[in-house]
C-alpha cells in the first residue's frame, strides 16, 4: 500500500466536503486523514486528503472524478516524496504525585515536543512531525500512561516551484499522463 496525498482546491461553499467525500465512499476508498482550511486566496479552500492505495491507476481515476465537481478548481495527487508534510499531535500524559517525573529535556531536545499545559496530575504535550515521528514519541511516552491522544490530519505543500496561482484562474484541465 502506497500513501497518496490528494490536494483539492475548491470554492468555499456549504456542502463541498460532502461532495468530495461521496466520491471516495462510492469507490470504497477509506480516507486516512483529512484537513480543510482557507488558502492564501480568499474564498478558496484547500483539502488535504491522505489515502492508501495499491493502484496508482485507481488514484488517478479518483483525482479525475474529484475534478468533475463544479466547485473544484484544481486537484493534485502526490506521493510522499513530492511534498513537504506534517501533522500535529496532542498527548495528555498522566503525572500523579510520586510517579516517575517526565524527562522534559529529552522530550524537548530529542523529540522536539513541548509541554503546552500543566496540571497537577497531568500535562499536555504537543508534538509536530510526520506520522512516524509522532508514533516514535508515542512509544517513548507510553510508559507514563497516555490519558488522551489526538492527531491532526496531514497538511502538505508541494515541493514544486509552482503555486496555486500558476493553475488559476484558467485552471485548464491537463490530461493526466
Amino acid at each position: 500500500m502506497t500513501s497518496y496525498t490528494i490536494c483539492v482546491f475548491t470554492e468555499n461553499t456549504i456542502g463541498i466536503l460532502n461532495k468530495i467525500t461521496t466520491i471516495f465512499t462510492r469507490r470504497r476508498i477509506n480516507i486516512e486523514s483529512l484537513t480543510v482550511s482557507e488558502t492564501e486566496r480568499k474564498g478558496i479552500s484547500r483539502f488535504t486528503i491522505v489515502i492508501r492505495s495499491e493502484s496508482r491507476d485507481a488514484v488517478e481515476k479518483l483525482v479525475r472524478q474529484i475534478r468533475k465537481i463544479i466547485e473544484v478548481l484544481a486537484v493534485f495527487g502526490y506521493l510522499n516524496e513530492d511534498i513537504a508534510y506534517n501533522e500535529i499531535a496532542l498527548f495528555k500524559v498522566s503525572t500523579p504525585i510520586g510517579a516517575k517525573p517526565l524527562d522534559i529535556e529529552t522530550i524537548n531536545k530529542t523529540y522536539k515536543a513541548w509541554v503546552v499545559y500543566w496540571h497537577l496530575t497531568y500535562v499536555i504535550i504537543q508534538k509536530t512531525g510526520t506520522e512516524e515521528e509522532i508514533f516514535e514519541f508515542f512509544d517513548y511516552i507510553k510508559p507514563h500512561e497516555i490519558l488522551e491522544f489526538v492527531r491532526s490530519g496531514r497538511v502538505a505543500v508541494s515541493k514544486s516551484p509552482q503555486t496555486l496561482v500558476d493553475y488559476l484562474p484558467e485552471a485548464e484541465w491537463e490530461y493526466y499522463q
Binding site: 475548491t10 460532502n18 461532495k19 488517478e60 490530461y175
Partner: protein
Amino acid sequence: MGFNENQTATIQGSEPVVSVAKPELINGSHAVIQSLIAEGVKTIFGYPGGAIMPVYDAIYDYQDQVNHILVRHEQGAAHAAEGFARITGEVGVCLVTSGPGATNLVTGIADAIIDSTPMVCIIGQVASHLLGTDAFQETDVMGITIPITKWNYQVTNADEIPDIIAKAFYIAKSGRPGPVLIDITKDAQQKLMTKPFVHKKVETLLSYHPRMAPKDEQLAAAAKLINQAKRPFLFVGHGVQIAGAEQELIRFVEKADIPVASTLLGLSSMSVDHPNYVGWLGMHGNYGTNVLTNQCDLIIAVGMRFDDRVTGDLSRYAKQAKIVHIEIDPAEIDKIMKADAPVVGDAKIALELLLPLVNENNHEAWKAEFKKYDVIEDEKITQPELAPTTEKIKMAEVIRTLSDKTKGEAVIVADVGQHQMMAARYYQFKKPSSYITSGGLGTMGYALPASFGAKVGAPDREVVAIIGDGCFQMTIQELGTIAQSGLPVKIIILNNNFLGMVRQWQQLFHQKRYSFVELQNPDFITIAKGFGIDGHTCAKREDLHASLDTMLASDKPYLLEVLVEKEENVFPMVPTGACVADIRLE
C-alpha cells in the same frame, strides 16, 4: 376579518403583488420564472405542492410565455424533461415541491446523469428558519442528490436566484451535459429581491472549464493511429448526438472509409442505409460488430464510455486493438479502456479537426467481413423473427412493420427490457435523434413520460413509445398527462404478460425458475379509454398492418396493445461476463 384579508392576499399573490409591468423589485418566485424565460424556457414539467406554491403562484401570471405541463407523478416530470432534452438538445426543466416531490424526482435525476441529459430541477424547500428541524415535507435534498447531479445548490436568499439559475443552465448544458438541482427555500421564493431583477447568462465559470477544441498534439497522435490502421473500427456513442456531430461523422468515416457501429444511445446518429454503417454494439447488438471488435486493429471511440453492456468481459475485450478515445469528459479517458490516443474535446469539433489530418482510404475488404456475419445473423435470427411461423405475433415484426410504415423517420421512445432491445434491433433508423431510451440506468417506466416530453420538443415528428406491459404499469398514470395536454403521442404496448428480460435470464441462467415475472395485467385499453385515450388491441398477425395504420392515422394520443409471443428471447446475446467474440445466436 384577518382570515379574509389573507384569503384575498393569497389569491392575488401572497407577497405584495408585483405586476410584470412594474418590475423594479420582484419577489423570488417571479425571479425564478423570469430567469427561466430569459434562458429560453418554453415548457416546464411540474407538480405543485406546499413548499413551491409561491413559484406556482407566480407562474400563473406567465402562462402566455411558459407552457406548464402538469404531470401525475414527479418521476414523470423528470423523464418528460429528459425526453424533451434528448430530442432538442436543450435543457429540460422540472418544477416540484420539497420532500416527496423531490424524492420522486430522484430516479429521473439519476437517469439523466448517467445518460448525460441536460436538466434543471427547481425544487421547493421549507423556509430557511426551518431547515434541519424535520419540518413538514423537509428532506435533505442536497444530501440526497449530491452523487446524482452535475451540480446542486440551495438558495436561501431571493437575490441569488437569477445568477444561480443562469449558472444552473450553463452547467447543465455545457461540456458533458447533466442534471442540475436548485433547492429554493420558501422564504427565498416569497421575499422581495433587494435589487432590480437582472438575468445575465453565464458563459464561463472560475472553476469549470469544459474543453471543446482538443489539443493539436492529441489530434495529431490520433490521426497517426487512424492513418496506420488496416482494420479501423469506429464506435458512435451518445456524444455524437449531443454534440450534433452527425454530418462531421459521415464526412470523416467516408474519407477514411471506416466501418461504424453504434452503442445503444448512439443509435440513429447514422442512417442504417449508410454503406459504412455496420450495426449495433454490445449485449444484444449485432453478430459481426461484436465478433470483429476483437479482430480490428484500432477502435475510434467517439463520445462513448465503454459501458459494461458494450464490452462484456474486459479482460478479453479488444486486447489486440489500439484505442483512440474522443471524449469531452476527461474522467472517462482511461476509466475502462486505456486510450493510446486520448482526444479530450467536443465530438463535433474533434471530428471536424481530424478530417484534414486523416488520409483518404479504402477498407472494402475489411468492411466486407461484417457482411459475412450479417448473412449468418440474418439467416439464424433476423429472418425467422421477421417472418415467424408462430401463432402469436413477435415483437420484431411489430417493430419492423412500424419502421416500414414510418419510413424509419419516427422518434422511437423505448422503455427498458426486451422490447427496448427489439426496437433497437429492428427499427431502421434513417434520421438523427430518433431513439430515446434509458440506457445507463435502465429505468423501467421511462418511456411513457419521456415520449410526451419528446413530443413537446419535436411536435412535427411522429413520436412512438414502445413499452412493455411491465414498464407501462410503472408510470401508467402519465396517461392522464398525455390526455390533458392532448399531445398526440402514439403508444405501443408489446404485451407478453411477462417481465420479459428477467424471464429470459431466468430461462437461460436460472434453469427456467420463473421467479415472480408473470403478470396479471389489467385491460389496458379500458384504462386508456378511462383516461380519454383511444386504443385498440391487436391479437392477430393479419390485423397488425391495419392496427398500426389506425394508430398512425390518429391525430390524437393513441394506445395500441399488441399481444405478442409470451416466451420469446432476444438474440444475439453476450451473456454477462462473457467475451464479445463469444456472442450467442441462440
